[in-house]
Symmetry: C2
Subunit: 131 residues, 2 copies
């Protein structure tokens, strides 16, 4: 086992990761400004820097310091991270039942008609592949 299972990102770290996934490799300043756009919270520049440094320490982002202005990049894919986070919540709150998770997801009115159709397609594809 060489995969060390990186620590879960915290709330603030996840917000930064989302910027990194959307924008690709970015500098501290870029992350800071993009974050201001998508957040109601107003986070200071040095706070973002510190968070990025912590995340580098933990290995959840990678840093290119070949230039004076460092460039940060997410170490794990968005999909992978989503899976880890959902797995964790599923175990902690849903007794490990994927069915319960789906049931709750559907019960939220965010699930529109198009979303339902999309989910049905996913289900079909998954069932066929599972055969």
């Amino acid at each position: 086992m060489t995969t060390h299972a990186l620590p879960q990102p915290t709330r603030a770290e996840l917000a930064i990761l989302r910027v990194l996934w959307k924008q690709g490799p970015s500098t501290v300043r870029q992350v800071h400004e993009l974050l201001r756009g998508t957040q109601d919270k107003d986070t200071g520049y040095t706070t973002v820097l510190k968070l990025l440094q912590n995340m580098t320490e933990k290995g959840i982002v990678q840093r290119d310091e070949s230039e004076r202005t460092h460039v940060y990049e997410a170490a794990l894919s968005e999909t992978r991270t989503q899976r880890d986070l959902l797995r964790d919540l599923m175990d902690r709150a849903f007794g490990g039942s994927a069915t319960s998770v789906v049931a709750q997801a559907l019960s939220m009115k965010r699930a529109s008609a198009e979303e339902l159709a999309e989910i049905r397609r996913l289900l079909d594809a998954h069932e066929k592949r599972g055969k």
Copy 2:
């Protein structure tokens, strides 16, 4: 606005809530012992007591202190809490997309054949009701 939107339970608090949901109203000692059964972690009696006191303070559980040995009960239903937690994760990590959540849930091999059938039934029921 009388609904104050109770704070999210922490990891340790959620573990306790799960005992409460399964066993119904319980004393500290009962929670402590049941927890020892379902957890690998060995949590001390006073730790459980303190957690329960904190949770009472936050309003996450309700305490009946009519007897010397207090009895604790979850203030919110399991389903309601699951919904709140999933909503939060969906917003923070999935951009609010229920479809993405379902896709990730399905991608975990926990989803067995029976689970898939169950999910399909949920989907049918939900679609019909939405009509």
